[in-house]
Protein backbone atom coordinates (compact mmCIF):
# COMPACT_ATOMS: atom_id res chain seq x y z
CA UNK A 1 0.00 0.00 0.00
CA UNK A 2 2.75 2.38 1.01
CA UNK A 3 6.36 2.15 -0.09
CA UNK A 4 9.04 4.48 1.17
CA UNK A 5 12.50 4.25 -0.29
CA UNK A 6 15.72 5.98 0.68
CA UNK A 7 13.92 8.97 2.10
CA UNK A 8 16.14 11.89 3.05
CA UNK A 9 14.48 14.86 4.69
CA UNK A 10 15.47 17.79 6.84
CA UNK A 11 14.61 21.10 8.38
CA UNK A 12 16.62 23.87 6.80
CA UNK A 13 20.21 22.70 6.74
CA UNK A 14 19.72 20.03 9.35
CA UNK A 15 19.03 16.59 7.97
CA UNK A 16 16.58 14.65 10.12
CA UNK A 17 16.02 11.51 8.04
CA UNK A 18 19.06 9.83 6.54
CA UNK A 19 17.62 7.56 3.90
CA UNK A 20 14.93 5.48 5.51
CA UNK A 21 13.04 2.74 3.71
CA UNK A 22 9.95 0.92 4.86
CA UNK A 23 6.63 -0.31 3.61
CA UNK A 24 3.11 -0.95 4.81
CA UNK A 25 0.78 -3.56 3.40
CA UNK A 26 -2.96 -3.21 3.12
CA UNK A 27 -4.68 -4.22 6.35
CA UNK A 28 -1.58 -4.05 8.54
CA UNK A 29 -0.83 -2.22 11.73
CA UNK A 30 2.76 -1.05 11.58
CA UNK A 31 4.51 0.72 14.39
CA UNK A 32 7.46 3.10 14.39
CA UNK A 33 9.39 3.09 17.62
CA UNK A 34 12.33 5.18 18.69
CA UNK A 35 13.78 7.54 21.25
CA UNK A 36 12.86 11.21 21.42
CA UNK A 37 14.14 13.01 18.38
CA UNK A 38 14.63 9.84 16.36
CA UNK A 39 12.60 11.24 13.51
CA UNK A 40 9.29 9.44 13.89
CA UNK A 41 7.09 12.53 13.66
CA UNK A 42 9.30 13.86 10.89
CA UNK A 43 8.64 10.68 8.92
CA UNK A 44 4.87 10.94 9.31
CA UNK A 45 4.83 14.62 8.36
CA UNK A 46 6.94 13.89 5.29
CA UNK A 47 4.53 11.12 4.28
CA UNK A 48 1.63 13.57 4.54
CA UNK A 49 3.47 16.05 2.31
CA UNK A 50 3.06 18.76 4.93
CA UNK A 51 5.03 21.95 4.44
CA UNK A 52 7.70 23.79 6.41
CA UNK A 53 8.16 25.25 8.96
CA UNK A 54 6.38 22.48 10.89
CA UNK A 55 7.25 19.74 8.44
CA UNK A 56 10.54 18.77 6.80
CA UNK A 57 11.58 19.17 3.19
CA UNK A 58 12.21 15.87 1.43
CA UNK A 59 15.53 16.15 -0.39
CA UNK A 60 15.57 12.76 -2.07
CA UNK A 61 13.95 9.38 -2.08
CA UNK A 62 10.47 8.25 -2.98
CA UNK A 63 7.10 7.77 -1.36
CA UNK A 64 4.71 5.57 -3.28
CA UNK A 65 1.11 5.05 -2.32
CA UNK A 66 -0.75 2.29 -4.12
CA UNK A 67 1.99 2.29 -6.71
CA UNK A 68 1.97 6.01 -7.43
CA UNK A 69 4.46 8.60 -6.32
CA UNK A 70 2.87 11.18 -4.05
CA UNK A 71 5.84 13.53 -3.98
CA UNK A 72 3.97 16.21 -5.91
CA UNK A 73 0.60 15.81 -4.24
CA UNK A 74 -0.63 18.53 -1.90
CA UNK A 75 -1.49 17.53 1.64
CA UNK A 76 -5.19 18.24 1.31
CA UNK A 77 -5.30 16.00 -1.76
CA UNK A 78 -3.40 13.26 -0.02
CA UNK A 79 -6.28 13.34 2.44
CA UNK A 80 -9.24 13.90 0.15
CA UNK A 81 -8.15 11.91 -2.91
CA UNK A 82 -5.79 9.25 -1.61
CA UNK A 83 -7.61 8.71 1.68
CA UNK A 84 -4.61 8.83 3.90
CA UNK A 85 -4.43 11.10 6.91
CA UNK A 86 -2.52 11.86 10.06
CA UNK A 87 -3.67 12.41 13.61
CA UNK A 88 -0.70 14.55 14.55
CA UNK A 89 1.37 14.61 17.70
CA UNK A 90 -0.24 16.94 20.22
CA UNK A 91 -3.74 16.38 18.80
CA UNK A 92 -4.16 19.75 17.10
CA UNK A 93 -7.91 19.76 17.51
CA UNK A 94 -9.69 23.02 16.82
CA UNK A 95 -10.35 24.24 20.34
CA UNK A 96 -12.55 27.12 19.26
CA UNK A 97 -14.99 24.77 17.53
CA UNK A 98 -17.43 22.37 19.11
CA UNK A 99 -16.81 18.63 19.04
CA UNK A 100 -19.41 18.28 16.33
CA UNK A 101 -17.88 21.06 14.26
CA UNK A 102 -14.47 19.43 14.52
CA UNK A 103 -15.89 16.20 13.17
CA UNK A 104 -17.87 17.92 10.43
CA UNK A 105 -14.87 19.94 9.38
CA UNK A 106 -12.98 16.73 8.73
CA UNK A 107 -15.71 15.71 6.31
CA UNK A 108 -15.35 19.02 4.48
CA UNK A 109 -14.81 17.54 1.06
CA UNK A 110 -17.19 14.61 1.42
CA UNK A 111 -20.75 13.89 0.52
CA UNK A 112 -23.01 14.38 3.46
CA UNK A 113 -24.79 11.01 3.46
CA UNK A 114 -21.51 9.12 3.66
CA UNK A 115 -20.17 11.37 6.32
CA UNK A 116 -23.33 11.01 8.37
CA UNK A 117 -22.82 7.24 8.53
CA UNK A 118 -19.23 7.71 9.63
CA UNK A 119 -20.32 10.18 12.25
CA UNK A 120 -22.65 7.62 13.78
CA UNK A 121 -19.92 5.03 13.65
CA UNK A 122 -17.52 7.34 15.46
CA UNK A 123 -20.08 8.11 18.12
CA UNK A 124 -20.43 4.36 18.59
CA UNK A 125 -16.70 3.97 19.01
CA UNK A 126 -16.43 6.98 21.30
CA UNK A 127 -19.77 7.51 23.06
CA UNK A 128 -18.08 10.22 25.09
CA UNK A 129 -17.87 12.39 21.98
CA UNK A 130 -21.59 12.04 21.35
CA UNK A 131 -22.32 13.25 24.86
CA UNK A 132 -20.16 16.29 24.35
CA UNK A 133 -21.01 17.02 20.73
CA UNK A 134 -22.10 20.59 21.40
CA UNK A 135 -19.29 21.42 23.77
CA UNK A 136 -16.33 23.57 22.76
CA UNK A 137 -13.56 21.08 22.19
CA UNK A 138 -10.94 22.90 24.26
CA UNK A 139 -13.06 22.13 27.29
CA UNK A 140 -12.61 18.37 26.77
CA UNK A 141 -10.25 16.37 28.94
CA UNK A 142 -6.98 15.21 27.44
CA UNK A 143 -8.29 11.71 26.80
CA UNK A 144 -11.46 13.02 25.22
CA UNK A 145 -9.41 15.31 23.02
CA UNK A 146 -7.40 12.31 21.86
CA UNK A 147 -10.60 10.48 20.99
CA UNK A 148 -11.71 13.52 19.06
CA UNK A 149 -8.40 13.70 17.20
CA UNK A 150 -8.81 10.09 16.10
CA UNK A 151 -12.51 10.45 15.40
CA UNK A 152 -11.75 13.48 13.32
CA UNK A 153 -9.14 11.62 11.30
CA UNK A 154 -11.65 8.83 10.67
CA UNK A 155 -14.16 11.38 9.41
CA UNK A 156 -11.88 12.06 6.45
CA UNK A 157 -12.75 8.57 5.22
CA UNK A 158 -9.18 7.38 5.44
CA UNK A 159 -7.97 3.98 4.32
CA UNK A 160 -4.52 4.55 5.80
CA UNK A 161 -4.33 6.28 9.14
CA UNK A 162 -1.11 7.63 10.58
CA UNK A 163 -1.17 8.10 14.33
CA UNK A 164 1.48 10.06 16.18
CA UNK A 165 1.50 9.10 19.85
CA UNK A 166 -2.21 8.45 20.28
CA UNK A 167 -1.72 7.43 23.91
CA UNK A 168 -0.03 10.67 24.91
CA UNK A 169 -1.48 11.91 28.16
CA UNK A 170 -3.86 8.99 28.57
CA UNK A 171 -4.30 7.08 31.79
CA UNK A 172 -3.29 3.39 31.41
CA UNK A 173 -6.88 2.20 31.32
CA UNK A 174 -7.74 4.62 28.55
CA UNK A 175 -4.55 3.74 26.75
CA UNK A 176 -5.52 0.07 26.54
CA UNK A 177 -9.00 1.03 25.48
CA UNK A 178 -7.57 3.25 22.76
CA UNK A 179 -5.46 0.44 21.38
CA UNK A 180 -8.40 -1.97 21.51
CA UNK A 181 -10.30 0.54 19.44
CA UNK A 182 -7.46 0.73 16.95
CA UNK A 183 -7.44 -3.03 16.69
CA UNK A 184 -11.15 -2.99 16.04
CA UNK A 185 -10.81 -0.33 13.34
CA UNK A 186 -8.06 -2.39 11.80
CA UNK A 187 -10.23 -5.47 11.70
CA UNK A 188 -12.83 -3.37 9.88
CA UNK A 189 -10.26 -2.75 7.15
CA UNK A 190 -8.27 0.30 8.23
CA UNK A 191 -4.53 0.21 7.68
CA UNK A 192 -2.61 1.94 10.45
CA UNK A 193 0.87 3.31 11.07
CA UNK A 194 1.29 4.15 14.71
CA UNK A 195 4.14 5.99 16.40
CA UNK A 196 4.19 5.27 20.08
CA UNK A 197 6.27 5.94 23.18
CA UNK A 198 4.85 2.92 24.87
CA UNK A 199 6.76 0.41 22.78
CA UNK A 200 5.47 -2.67 24.55
CA UNK A 201 1.88 -1.73 23.92
CA UNK A 202 2.60 -0.75 20.33
CA UNK A 203 4.38 -4.00 19.56
CA UNK A 204 1.61 -6.03 21.14
CA UNK A 205 -0.93 -4.48 18.83
CA UNK A 206 1.13 -4.09 15.66
CA UNK A 207 1.81 -6.75 13.06
CA UNK A 208 5.22 -5.36 12.26
CA UNK A 209 7.50 -2.68 13.56
CA UNK A 210 10.43 -0.49 12.65
CA UNK A 211 12.90 0.82 15.20
CA UNK A 212 14.27 4.25 14.45
CA UNK A 213 17.35 5.89 15.84
CA UNK A 214 18.60 9.37 14.92
CA UNK A 215 17.03 9.45 11.51
CA UNK A 216 17.69 5.87 10.51
CA UNK A 217 15.86 2.59 10.72
CA UNK A 218 18.01 0.27 12.79
CA UNK A 219 15.78 -2.77 13.10
CA UNK A 220 12.62 -4.10 11.56
CA UNK A 221 10.45 -7.17 11.53
CA UNK A 222 7.34 -8.79 12.89
CA UNK A 223 6.51 -7.40 16.32
CA UNK A 224 7.15 -10.69 18.08
CA UNK A 225 10.66 -10.92 16.65
CA UNK A 226 11.43 -7.32 17.55
CA UNK A 227 10.39 -7.91 21.13
CA UNK A 228 12.96 -10.67 21.38
CA UNK A 229 15.93 -8.61 20.25
CA UNK A 230 18.00 -7.92 23.37
CA UNK A 231 18.88 -4.34 22.35
CA UNK A 232 15.26 -3.51 21.74
CA UNK A 233 14.33 -5.05 25.06
CA UNK A 234 16.94 -3.03 26.83
CA UNK A 235 16.24 0.27 25.14
CA UNK A 236 12.47 0.30 24.73
CA UNK A 237 10.86 -2.42 26.76
CA UNK A 238 12.52 -1.76 30.08
CA UNK A 239 14.88 -4.77 30.11
Amino acid sequence: MLNVEQLYAGYGRIEALHGISFHVKEGEIVTLIGANGAGKSTTLKALMRLKPPEAPVVTSGSIRYRGQSIMDVETHQVVSRLNMTLAPEGRHIFGNLTVMENLKLAAWTRQTADAQNDLEHIFQLFPRLAERAKQRSDTLSGGEQQMLAIGRALMTNCALLLLDEPSMGLAPVLMYEMFRTLKRLNSEGLTIIVVEQNARLALEVADRGYIMDTGEIVAEGPSRDLMDIPEVKAAYLGG
Binding site: M48, L50, K51, P52, P53, E54, E74, T75, H76, Q77, V79, S80, T85, L86, P88, H92, I93, F94, G95, N96, L97, E101, K104, L105, A106, W108, T109, R110, R152, A153, T156
Partner: protein, 307 residues
Protein backbone atom coordinates in the same frame (compact mmCIF):
# COMPACT_ATOMS: atom_id res chain seq x y z
CA UNK B 1 -35.82 71.09 21.58
CA UNK B 2 -33.37 72.60 19.16
CA UNK B 3 -30.53 71.13 21.12
CA UNK B 4 -31.91 67.61 21.05
CA UNK B 5 -32.51 67.94 17.36
CA UNK B 6 -28.94 69.03 16.84
CA UNK B 7 -27.68 66.08 18.84
CA UNK B 8 -29.85 63.67 16.88
CA UNK B 9 -28.50 65.26 13.72
CA UNK B 10 -24.95 64.68 14.91
CA UNK B 11 -25.93 61.15 15.83
CA UNK B 12 -27.13 60.47 12.30
CA UNK B 13 -23.89 61.80 10.88
CA UNK B 14 -22.09 59.57 13.34
CA UNK B 15 -23.98 56.54 12.04
CA UNK B 16 -22.93 57.32 8.50
CA UNK B 17 -19.28 57.80 9.32
CA UNK B 18 -19.36 54.81 11.63
CA UNK B 19 -20.86 52.66 8.89
CA UNK B 20 -17.84 53.37 6.69
CA UNK B 21 -15.43 52.55 9.46
CA UNK B 22 -17.38 49.40 10.16
CA UNK B 23 -17.36 48.28 6.52
CA UNK B 24 -13.60 48.69 6.31
CA UNK B 25 -12.94 47.30 9.77
CA UNK B 26 -14.80 44.12 8.82
CA UNK B 27 -12.24 43.46 6.10
CA UNK B 28 -9.35 43.97 8.49
CA UNK B 29 -10.88 41.65 11.00
CA UNK B 30 -11.73 38.88 8.53
CA UNK B 31 -8.20 38.66 7.23
CA UNK B 32 -6.67 39.00 10.66
CA UNK B 33 -8.99 36.35 12.02
CA UNK B 34 -7.89 33.81 9.46
CA UNK B 35 -4.25 34.68 8.81
CA UNK B 36 -3.24 36.69 11.87
CA UNK B 37 -2.16 39.22 9.29
CA UNK B 38 -2.83 42.93 9.63
CA UNK B 39 -3.52 43.70 6.02
CA UNK B 40 -2.35 47.29 5.95
CA UNK B 41 -3.13 47.56 2.26
CA UNK B 42 -6.81 47.22 3.08
CA UNK B 43 -7.49 50.96 3.36
CA UNK B 44 -6.06 51.40 -0.09
CA UNK B 45 -8.14 48.55 -1.43
CA UNK B 46 -11.08 50.63 -0.20
CA UNK B 47 -9.67 53.60 -2.15
CA UNK B 48 -9.28 51.48 -5.27
CA UNK B 49 -12.86 50.33 -4.74
CA UNK B 50 -14.05 53.93 -4.78
CA UNK B 51 -12.19 54.56 -8.02
CA UNK B 52 -13.51 51.41 -9.57
CA UNK B 53 -16.98 52.62 -8.64
CA UNK B 54 -16.19 55.95 -10.28
CA UNK B 55 -15.05 54.43 -13.55
CA UNK B 56 -17.76 51.82 -13.70
CA UNK B 57 -20.56 54.26 -12.95
CA UNK B 58 -19.22 56.91 -15.31
CA UNK B 59 -19.03 54.37 -18.08
CA UNK B 60 -22.50 53.05 -17.38
CA UNK B 61 -24.11 56.47 -17.22
CA UNK B 62 -22.31 58.42 -19.90
CA UNK B 63 -23.91 58.75 -23.33
CA UNK B 64 -20.66 57.55 -24.91
CA UNK B 65 -20.69 54.54 -22.64
CA UNK B 66 -23.76 52.43 -22.04
CA UNK B 67 -26.11 55.28 -21.20
CA UNK B 68 -27.97 53.22 -18.61
CA UNK B 69 -30.76 54.58 -16.48
CA UNK B 70 -29.81 55.69 -12.98
CA UNK B 71 -31.21 52.66 -11.13
CA UNK B 72 -29.70 50.16 -13.52
CA UNK B 73 -26.39 51.97 -13.31
CA UNK B 74 -26.50 51.91 -9.51
CA UNK B 75 -27.24 48.21 -9.26
CA UNK B 76 -24.64 47.30 -11.87
CA UNK B 77 -22.04 49.56 -10.27
CA UNK B 78 -22.72 47.95 -6.91
CA UNK B 79 -22.26 44.46 -8.28
CA UNK B 80 -19.28 45.21 -10.50
CA UNK B 81 -17.45 47.30 -7.92
CA UNK B 82 -17.80 44.55 -5.35
CA UNK B 83 -16.58 41.90 -7.76
CA UNK B 84 -13.71 43.92 -9.20
CA UNK B 85 -12.49 45.08 -5.81
CA UNK B 86 -12.54 41.47 -4.61
CA UNK B 87 -10.27 40.82 -7.54
CA UNK B 88 -7.85 43.46 -6.30
CA UNK B 89 -7.73 41.90 -2.84
CA UNK B 90 -7.28 38.41 -4.24
CA UNK B 91 -4.51 39.64 -6.53
CA UNK B 92 -2.65 41.13 -3.57
CA UNK B 93 -2.97 37.83 -1.77
CA UNK B 94 -1.73 35.89 -4.78
CA UNK B 95 1.24 38.00 -5.80
CA UNK B 96 2.36 39.40 -2.46
CA UNK B 97 1.21 37.47 0.59
CA UNK B 98 1.01 33.91 -0.64
CA UNK B 99 4.61 33.63 -1.83
CA UNK B 100 5.76 34.87 1.56
CA UNK B 101 3.50 32.44 3.34
CA UNK B 102 4.83 29.61 1.19
CA UNK B 103 8.33 30.38 2.30
CA UNK B 104 7.26 30.46 5.90
CA UNK B 105 8.21 34.13 6.25
CA UNK B 106 7.73 35.69 9.65
CA UNK B 107 4.47 37.57 10.02
CA UNK B 108 6.32 40.85 10.42
CA UNK B 109 7.55 40.67 6.84
CA UNK B 110 4.07 40.02 5.58
CA UNK B 111 2.73 43.03 7.45
CA UNK B 112 5.48 45.24 6.05
CA UNK B 113 4.71 43.89 2.59
CA UNK B 114 1.05 44.79 3.10
CA UNK B 115 2.06 48.29 4.08
CA UNK B 116 4.16 48.61 0.95
CA UNK B 117 1.37 47.24 -1.22
CA UNK B 118 -0.83 50.01 0.12
CA UNK B 119 1.70 52.69 -0.76
CA UNK B 120 2.08 51.05 -4.15
CA UNK B 121 -1.63 51.24 -4.83
CA UNK B 122 -1.74 54.89 -3.79
CA UNK B 123 1.12 55.83 -6.06
CA UNK B 124 0.02 53.70 -8.96
CA UNK B 125 -3.24 55.58 -8.79
CA UNK B 126 -1.38 58.89 -8.73
CA UNK B 127 0.77 57.86 -11.66
CA UNK B 128 -2.12 56.62 -13.74
CA UNK B 129 -4.71 59.25 -12.97
CA UNK B 130 -2.73 62.28 -11.89
CA UNK B 131 -3.37 64.42 -8.85
CA UNK B 132 -6.83 65.62 -9.81
CA UNK B 133 -9.66 64.36 -7.65
CA UNK B 134 -12.72 62.66 -9.05
CA UNK B 135 -16.38 62.90 -8.30
CA UNK B 136 -18.80 60.05 -8.61
CA UNK B 137 -21.80 60.77 -10.84
CA UNK B 138 -25.20 60.75 -9.11
CA UNK B 139 -26.29 57.18 -8.75
CA UNK B 140 -29.44 57.64 -6.72
CA UNK B 141 -31.99 60.35 -6.63
CA UNK B 142 -31.22 62.09 -3.36
CA UNK B 143 -34.14 62.68 -1.08
CA UNK B 144 -34.20 64.49 2.20
CA UNK B 145 -36.57 63.13 4.77
CA UNK B 146 -37.66 65.50 7.49
CA UNK B 147 -38.75 64.15 10.86
CA UNK B 148 -39.85 67.11 12.93
CA UNK B 149 -36.78 69.20 12.31
CA UNK B 150 -34.33 66.32 12.02
CA UNK B 151 -33.32 65.66 8.46
CA UNK B 152 -31.90 62.51 7.01
CA UNK B 153 -31.10 61.65 3.44
CA UNK B 154 -32.11 58.43 1.82
CA UNK B 155 -28.40 57.89 1.11
CA UNK B 156 -27.58 57.90 4.83
CA UNK B 157 -30.26 55.31 5.43
CA UNK B 158 -28.93 53.23 2.57
CA UNK B 159 -25.39 53.37 3.93
CA UNK B 160 -26.40 52.36 7.42
CA UNK B 161 -28.62 49.56 6.11
CA UNK B 162 -25.76 48.34 3.95
CA UNK B 163 -23.41 48.23 6.93
CA UNK B 164 -25.91 46.28 9.04
CA UNK B 165 -26.69 43.90 6.20
CA UNK B 166 -23.03 43.21 5.51
CA UNK B 167 -22.37 42.68 9.20
CA UNK B 168 -25.21 40.20 9.58
CA UNK B 169 -24.20 38.42 6.40
CA UNK B 170 -20.55 38.05 7.39
CA UNK B 171 -21.40 37.00 10.92
CA UNK B 172 -23.73 34.34 9.53
CA UNK B 173 -21.16 33.10 7.04
CA UNK B 174 -18.44 32.86 9.64
CA UNK B 175 -20.55 31.26 12.35
CA UNK B 176 -22.87 29.06 10.32
CA UNK B 177 -21.42 28.13 6.95
CA UNK B 178 -19.02 25.42 5.96
CA UNK B 179 -16.48 27.97 4.74
CA UNK B 180 -16.90 29.95 7.93
CA UNK B 181 -16.20 26.88 10.00
CA UNK B 182 -12.97 26.34 8.09
CA UNK B 183 -12.06 30.00 8.58
CA UNK B 184 -12.50 29.77 12.32
CA UNK B 185 -10.52 26.55 12.38
CA UNK B 186 -7.61 28.11 10.47
CA UNK B 187 -7.43 30.92 12.98
CA UNK B 188 -6.97 28.36 15.73
CA UNK B 189 -4.60 25.91 14.08
CA UNK B 190 -3.61 26.31 10.42
CA UNK B 191 -1.28 23.31 10.60
CA UNK B 192 -4.10 20.79 10.98
CA UNK B 193 -6.34 22.20 8.24
CA UNK B 194 -4.89 20.33 5.24
CA UNK B 195 -5.05 17.14 7.30
CA UNK B 196 -8.83 17.51 7.12
CA UNK B 197 -8.57 17.51 3.32
CA UNK B 198 -9.24 21.24 3.24
CA UNK B 199 -7.28 23.42 0.80
CA UNK B 200 -6.06 26.27 2.98
CA UNK B 201 -5.42 28.59 0.05
CA UNK B 202 -9.00 28.30 -1.10
CA UNK B 203 -10.27 29.41 2.29
CA UNK B 204 -7.82 32.30 2.34
CA UNK B 205 -8.87 33.46 -1.11
CA UNK B 206 -12.49 33.25 0.01
CA UNK B 207 -11.61 35.44 2.98
CA UNK B 208 -9.95 38.04 0.79
CA UNK B 209 -12.89 37.98 -1.60
CA UNK B 210 -15.26 38.83 1.23
CA UNK B 211 -13.05 41.44 2.89
CA UNK B 212 -12.15 43.26 -0.31
CA UNK B 213 -15.63 43.00 -1.74
CA UNK B 214 -16.98 44.75 1.33
CA UNK B 215 -14.24 47.38 1.04
CA UNK B 216 -15.32 47.93 -2.58
CA UNK B 217 -18.91 48.38 -1.47
CA UNK B 218 -17.67 50.83 1.16
CA UNK B 219 -15.69 52.71 -1.48
CA UNK B 220 -18.75 53.06 -3.69
CA UNK B 221 -20.95 54.33 -0.87
CA UNK B 222 -18.21 56.63 0.36
CA UNK B 223 -17.90 58.13 -3.09
CA UNK B 224 -21.64 58.63 -3.19
CA UNK B 225 -21.63 60.37 0.18
CA UNK B 226 -18.49 62.47 0.26
CA UNK B 227 -18.06 63.69 -3.29
CA UNK B 228 -14.29 63.82 -3.69
CA UNK B 229 -12.07 60.83 -4.39
CA UNK B 230 -8.34 61.19 -3.85
CA UNK B 231 -5.56 58.67 -4.06
CA UNK B 232 -4.74 59.15 -0.37
CA UNK B 233 -8.30 58.78 0.89
CA UNK B 234 -7.75 55.17 1.86
CA UNK B 235 -4.89 55.88 4.20
CA UNK B 236 -6.60 57.77 7.00
CA UNK B 237 -9.83 55.79 6.62
CA UNK B 238 -7.80 52.60 6.68
CA UNK B 239 -5.87 53.53 9.79
CA UNK B 240 -8.98 54.59 11.62
CA UNK B 241 -10.92 51.50 10.59
CA UNK B 242 -8.02 49.37 11.72
CA UNK B 243 -8.07 51.09 15.09
CA UNK B 244 -11.81 50.56 15.22
CA UNK B 245 -11.29 46.86 14.57
CA UNK B 246 -8.70 46.65 17.34
CA UNK B 247 -10.89 48.50 19.81
CA UNK B 248 -13.75 46.15 18.95
CA UNK B 249 -11.46 43.16 19.40
CA UNK B 250 -9.69 42.34 16.17
CA UNK B 251 -10.66 39.01 14.72
CA UNK B 252 -14.24 39.35 15.92
CA UNK B 253 -16.87 40.36 13.37
CA UNK B 254 -19.13 41.92 16.01
CA UNK B 255 -16.15 43.82 17.34
CA UNK B 256 -15.33 45.34 13.97
CA UNK B 257 -18.90 46.45 13.45
CA UNK B 258 -19.28 47.90 16.92
CA UNK B 259 -15.80 49.43 16.92
CA UNK B 260 -16.54 51.15 13.63
CA UNK B 261 -19.81 52.61 14.85
CA UNK B 262 -18.17 53.64 18.11
CA UNK B 263 -15.38 55.51 16.38
CA UNK B 264 -17.88 57.17 14.09
CA UNK B 265 -19.96 58.19 17.07
CA UNK B 266 -17.04 59.64 18.99
CA UNK B 267 -15.75 61.51 15.96
CA UNK B 268 -19.09 62.93 14.97
CA UNK B 269 -20.18 63.87 18.47
CA UNK B 270 -17.02 65.61 19.70
CA UNK B 271 -17.61 68.62 17.42
CA UNK B 272 -21.05 68.94 18.98
CA UNK B 273 -19.48 70.01 22.24
CA UNK B 274 -15.93 71.07 21.45
CA UNK B 275 -14.06 72.82 18.67
CA UNK B 276 -13.87 70.40 15.79
CA UNK B 277 -10.09 70.67 15.66
CA UNK B 278 -10.13 68.60 18.89
CA UNK B 279 -11.95 65.82 17.09
CA UNK B 280 -9.13 63.35 16.50
CA UNK B 281 -7.39 64.24 19.75
CA UNK B 282 -10.43 63.45 21.85
CA UNK B 283 -11.64 60.47 19.88
CA UNK B 284 -8.28 58.76 19.98
CA UNK B 285 -7.86 59.50 23.66
CA UNK B 286 -11.14 57.72 24.25
CA UNK B 287 -10.03 54.77 22.15
CA UNK B 288 -6.74 54.53 24.01
CA UNK B 289 -8.65 54.61 27.27
CA UNK B 290 -10.83 51.73 26.10
CA UNK B 291 -7.78 49.72 25.13
CA UNK B 292 -6.16 50.41 28.50
CA UNK B 293 -9.23 48.99 30.20
CA UNK B 294 -9.59 46.10 27.79
CA UNK B 295 -6.32 45.50 25.95
CA UNK B 296 -7.89 42.84 23.75
CA UNK B 297 -10.73 45.09 22.67
CA UNK B 298 -14.41 44.92 23.45
CA UNK B 299 -15.08 41.43 22.13
CA UNK B 300 -11.51 40.24 22.24
CA UNK B 301 -10.42 37.14 24.06
CA UNK B 302 -6.70 37.01 24.82
CA UNK B 303 -5.13 35.72 21.61
CA UNK B 304 -6.24 32.52 19.85
CA UNK B 305 -9.97 31.84 19.82
CA UNK B 306 -11.46 34.43 17.56
CA UNK B 307 -11.79 34.98 13.91
Amino acid sequence: MDDTNAIIQYGLNALQLGSFYALIALGYTLVYGVLRLINFAHGDVFMVGAYIAFFVSSFLLSPEGLACGQTTAFVLTLVLTTILTSGVGVTLERVAYRPLRRQGAHRLYVVITALMCGILLENANLALLGASSRTLPDLIHKEVINWGGVTITNLKILIFMAAILVFVLLQTIVMKSRFGMAMRAISWDPFAIPLMGIPVDKIIVFTFVMGSGVAGLGGLLYGMAYVKLENTMGMMMGWKAFIAAVVGGIGDIRGAFLGGLLLGAVEALVPAFLPSSYKDLISFSILIAILCLRPTGIFGVPLTTKI
